[in-house]
Symmetry: C2
Subunit: 336 residues, 2 copies
Amino acid sequence: MRLTDVGEFALIEGIRRLMRGNYDPQIIAGIGDDCAILRPLPDQDLIITTDTLVEGIHFHPDWMNYYQIGWRALAANLSDIAAMAGRPVGALLACSFPASRQKSHFDQLIEGITALGKHYDCPLIGGDITRSKRGIFINITVIGLVSRDKAIRRGSAQVGDRVWVTGWLGEAKGGLEYHRQAPPLKPEQFSSTLRRFLQPTPRLEEAAFLVDKISLTSMIDLSDGLSSDLRHICRESGVGIEIYTSHLPISSSTKALADSLGARPVDWALHGGEDFELCFTSQETDMEPVVREFRERFGIPLTAIGRVIEGRELSLIDERGERHPLPPCGYQHFRK
Amino acid sequence: MRLTDVGEFALIEGIRRLMRGNYDPQIIAGIGDDCAILRPLPDQDLIITTDTLVEGIHFHPDWMNYYQIGWRALAANLSDIAAMAGRPVGALLACSFPASRQKSHFDQLIEGITALGKHYDCPLIGGDITRSKRGIFINITVIGLVSRDKAIRRGSAQVGDRVWVTGWLGEAKGGLEYHRQAPPLKPEQFSSTLRRFLQPTPRLEEAAFLVDKISLTSMIDLSDGLSSDLRHICRESGVGIEIYTSHLPISSSTKALADSLGARPVDWALHGGEDFELCFTSQETDMEPVVREFRERFGIPLTAIGRVIEGRELSLIDERGERHPLPPCGYQHFRK
């Protein structure tokens, strides 16, 4: 069955039925009116973010199924909510499909979005479904809440802070290269790397844990790549940052994949986009118990990879202790 | 200069500079962090809506300039905020452009969005700029505020209410047909009709005036077409509605254009999409002074076009007083 056999209104009604009973009391109106209505509690700030996935640019249906595409589209947004230490309350989905596409693909997309949304209490509360001439466009906007003045911003990193990341770096880039190059390798060898690419977990629970345990001065999620994203912290905070090559957390699965493809895993870790890990700065010195508990609870590492320094520059300290400028080689649209 | 000569980050920085100083104190963070941050006042509900314009589906750059495309993209969203009797506080822009497109077109799009946004205190507070393979996609999400429990919904129309519309109906359809058919007619003859198509005014001030003067039971904005949009009120309110053909407000400019194109202006008024007028129900009986003041203040009519009745059906009472079912012939994506 094709979308043209169904029509926009039936598609919307299908999503609305799926959502029935999934709204918490702060959602006064979800799908089915001109706007969704939210009621913040007193002393809550509202946070909002939007991300688009474009077929042929951000995803290829040959590489991942529609469930995974939907999952990734919401995960990219939830990652931004996590980066502010907020919790999501609802999402709006604006998507455009060619009319000739299969209804089943649309349904799988919705399933991927709602499966992840259900896990993090982030139902679909509105949206817009339109036709496109060519290619699928998926835009999701997520609204979240955070206690008043408790959002972690990019602009408060302090000289002397250590720079931390959650999880493993370069996994999404590894997954991307695996699919792009289609090497004659068994995917099971690199399953953790490929899984992070296909179905990333946004670090919402991890962020909540961190703000509960320690004081963070700034935080960002890694979407364009470490070397690009860290510049935002440098710029907004008016500081420099140095990163130690030897500290970069790279999984054995990712190292093995990079070796097989003749790539340098460090390059993937520094410049690969869409890891959706959190990068934060903190003055905290006694981090050992936090690092241990983090690893036990979430099954991923928490790693100090650098330090906030004077200046405005981003630099890399290599294995021999030599300093190099670290240019922003992460992904940028309209640029090679 | 092409977008590929500029890059995503410089485009974002350009918009950020444009917005500097345009945020009111409720916007704690605008462009430049993982999320925008808003601080609702106590007793404010938050309303949120999203709309997409797709090149070749919703607009053709041959028909309107990029300023007008940007204006329309925001206007469609502000119209939804108006339909809830809210006021906008900020917008997120997610847009995808082919890399080969002109930077000047992008700039004009932003100009159109920000010109309308400035008029209604709705700055850009975030977004996502990406590349597309083909065609432009413009998605805008607007966040608005409304006093607690004061949003006008679709589900409270009462049997006996009169049905009202603001402005003239069928103008956007007239403008669309004029551009689609490109007849050998002088545009000056139909300037008010064409202007409503190219650069619609969202009815925010009109909605604020109405809720101040009278009690509304339900409201919706006319985006798909009267015959489609009214069904939402019927359905959500569990009522029927009858519309009187002879009452439909059709401007002389639109009538003349329809005549010239061999079309029935009543069809445009009933089924034409994107008029972005407001349609509401009210029990108010003494409307004469309100209608007069509305006309004086806004230069457009306020017209009673029908009545809420028992049942679930939408019907049309023709000039001879005969009743006909009114099928939903407005625009629906994926359907002819």
